[in-house]
């Protein structure tokens, strides 16, 4: 984790200086890669249990292209893993995403999209074999991008991913109407 941050900072500093010296060539590429801290809370409609918040590291990224000076579209990847007493649990969400920057000269952005999530086990691991589930996924969030006009920048983001699992199949039977909310706060490198 510490290595990732160091790497991000090391890449960013010279890039900003270069970007200030020469105007960047127009590029339609949009790549974001970063990491952060994630929090999960599970929910199911008929469960008497109130699920606690669970925390773990998260990796987030986007790849796509610019459709206008303020709008990017692409694919969003989110991965989060956490541990509890019963084992290791992870979730991966792949979403089609659109990002909008209201002001081209300022770094504020919002983004949203939808896609699929893949969940291995859930808030508890039940049984010796992992339970793999697919889910409808939705993502929305926002943040601030430093050096938004340059080829290389840094962004701070806050996102919420929602995974609707439907019936969660476990060795103990199906749990109906399961949803999970994943909040993440982090930083990422932006390449344009």
């Amino acid at each position: 984790m510490k290595g990732l941050w160091m790497c991000a900072l090391a890449c960013l500093i010279p890039a900003v200086a270069v970007a200030q010296n020469a105007p960047p060539a127009p590029s339609r590429l949009w790549i974001v890669a970063g990491a952060g801290a994630g929090t999960l809370r599970g929910h199911c409609r008929d469960c008497a249990q109130d699920f606690p918040f669970r925390h773990g590291p998260a990796i987030a990224g986007d790849a796509g292209f610019r459709v206008s000076p303020r709008t990017d579209i692409g694919v969003d990847l989110f991965w989060m893993q956490w541990r509890n007493d019963s084992g290791r649990i992870r979730a991966t969400a792949i979403d089609a995403v659109a990002q909008f920057r209201p002001w081209t000269s300022k770094g504020f952005f919002v983004k949203g999209g939808a896609g699929m999530a893949f969940v291995r086990n859930w808030v508890h691991t039940m049984g010796p074999h992992p339970d793999d589930s697919k889910a409808l996924a939705v993502v929305f969030g926002g943040g601030w991008e430093f050096n938004p006009k340059g080829r290389l920048g840094l962004q701070l983001f806050a996102t919420q991913h929602v995974g609707a699992l439907g019936d969660l199949q476990t060795v103990n039977g199906a749990i109906a109407d399961v949803t999970g909310n994943f909040w993440s706060l982090g930083a990422a490198i932006v390449i344009r």
């Binding site: 809370r41 929910h43 409609r45 909008f100 209201p102 919002v110 939705v138 609707a164 019936d167 909310n181």
Partner: protein, 508 residues
């Protein structure tokens, strides 16, 4: 109370963005003197640190001299901050409306906001019509607060998501709803752009006096947010050309009024028919041309009556168009909004399709056009009953207070896929025969555990009388198969035929 104070402040902030209509002159280009009212500094814009070109500080003089900031002479200036504030203001108005109706869900406080943020998103238990029509309509208002303030389609789409998310977390005491977020955002985009363009069709920007007023009022009825912005800014009086983006390459429509006989599982047709009115509008030509302008071509269908007061609404808007094979074929990406309520099934969905179409000239006066498509249903809803239940029970008054949906909910939600075909035989520019087929699969994630496969096929024969009148007959067939995920893997099938006879009125 604190929540009410907060929303009132937001409302005042939103209203502060309005410029007085009386401060405008009819022709922006002829305006020479800057309006003193416009020169006053705007404290809210300054507080938010918005650049003058984006905020309220846009003076009349600036508008006059810097048309480079306008996409066209009749286009609104770009005001991103205003768009965001108006979206918040729309949420405030909806909240106040709910509060006035006595809905307990409107009693928001910072505590309910925090509770909603902690909970995250869940599926809600609201009524089918509220979720499939009400929320998309609400989203259309967010979308058009962007369009009315000079944002383009995709930017307004992002604004719709912003309005939807803020409503879900902060507009009600209910937990934020995943299905509402998707329906409001995607449905709002589809309905919003369609209604925005419909408003521009009604608006006559070259007219003056009463004629102009009525055209602006008519457009405001269709697209209230754009209309109100135009009245507030004075654009509703200004004589300009329409923005070229909103002038369709072609425009046609058809109204059909007649009688419809429905069948059922047990009998072929009902003895007495139900009256109906069906409206079709074709904006632009989706069959030709390279297009990167979303919704430059769209199709709208609405049906009233025929078994329920509002029985069908479909919007298919082209997002992308590209001819290939030397123009013999046309590839399109289409966004769709669907609402269908009949005896076979009630369904609503938001989908994205890829379509390929071609037109063939059969003779100098007759041509045949066919379009096939397939795509993803981001979220679909379909009515359903649990196995063993044959009739939907009467819903009881909610005990938790007005506006609180406690369920059970008799429809399912889930993603899925869809595919279909549309063919038209045209003679002298008029449709004389049409075929429509749509298959939709919805995998239930919330509700009864089932995989629903819905089909609809329809054939229309149209006989021209005296222009623009004609007669039409159509045969329809609805089919539904639900594959339940129970131990016995139960499969249930329903099918309903439907016949119609109607008088048509066509406009080209």
């Amino acid at each position: 109370m604190r929540g009410v104070c907060a929303v009132t402040i937001s409302l005042v902030a939103c209203l502060a963005t309005a410029r007085p209509a009386g401060a405008q002159t009819p022709d922006r280009s002829a305006q020479e003197k800057p309006d003193p009212v416009q020169q006053l500094p705007n404290p809210i814009g300054s507080f938010l640190g918005m650049p003058a070109r984006f905020g309220w500080e846009q003076s009349a003089g600036a508008l006059n001299t810097s048309n480079a900031q306008l996409a066209c002479a009749g286009c609104p200036p770009r005001r991103v901050g205003t768009a965001f504030l108006q979206t918040t203001g729309i949420n405030v108005l909806y909240g106040l409306g709910n509060l006035a109706r006595g809905q307990v869900t409107a009693r928001i406080t910072p505590e309910t906001w925090w509770a909603n943020m902690q909970q995250g998103m869940v599926w809600d238990l609201d009524d089918f019509t509220v979720n499939q029509i009400g929320h998309p309509y609400q989203g259309n208002n967010y979308f058009n607060s962007g369009r009315a303030n000079g944002l383009n389609f995709y930017e307004s789409a992002a604004l719709t998501a912003f309005g939807s998310a803020t409503w879900e977390f902060f507009g009600e005491t209910n937990h934020a709803s995943l299905n509402d977020f998707i329906n409001t955002t995607l449905g709002g985009i589809t309905l919003g752009e369609m209604l925005h363009r419909a408003g521009w069709l009604i608006r006559n920007t070259h007219a003056t006096g009463k004629r102009r007023l009525w055209s602006e009022l008519g457009a405001t009825a269709v697209d209230p947010i754009t209309g109100l912005n135009r009245f507030m800014s004075g654009d509703a009086k200004r004589v300009t050309d329409k923005p070229p983006e909103f002038v369709p390459s072609s425009l046609s429509g058809m109204a059909a009024a007649g009688v419809l006989w429905r069948g059922s599982q047990s009998s072929a047709f009902t003895a007495t028919g139900d009256p109906f009115l069906e409206l079709d509008a074709y904006h632009g030509d989706p069959n030709i041309g390279r297009s990167r302008t979303p919704y430059d071509a769209f199709w709208l269908r609405m049906r009233f009556g025929g078994g329920s007061s509002f029985s069908e609404a479909r919007v298919r808007g082209r997002l992308y168009g590209q001819p290939f094979a030397n123009g013999a074929f046309q590839f399109s990406v289409i966004q769709t909004y669907n609402y269908l309520n009949n005896d076979a099934y009630s369904t609503g969905s938001q989908a994205l399709d890829a379509a390929i179409g071609t037109t063939r000239a059969l003779s100098p006066r007759t041509s045949f056009w066919i379009l096939g498509w397939g795509g993803l249903t981001v979220l679909g809803a379909v009515d359903s009953l649990p196995l063993g239940v044959t009739e939907r029970p009467v819903e009881e008054e909610p005990s938790a207070g007005q506006g609180v949906s406690e369920g059970p909910r008799f429809y399912d939600y889930g993603p899925g896929s869809d595919f279909g075909a549309l063919a038209r035989l045209t003679h002298d520019g008029h449709d004389i025969a049409m075929f429509f087929y749509l298959g939709r699969q919805i995998y239930s994630l919330d509700g009864v555990r089932a995989n629903h496969f819905l089909q609809q096929a329809r054939v229309d024969l149209l006989f021209p009388l005296r222009r623009p009148l004609g007669l039409g007959v159509s045969g329809e067939y609805f089919s539904r198969r639900s594959y339940y995920q129970d131990v016995a893997s139960t499969v249930k099938t329903y099918h309903y035929p439907q016949l119609r006879a109607y008088l048509i009125w066509r406009s080209r």
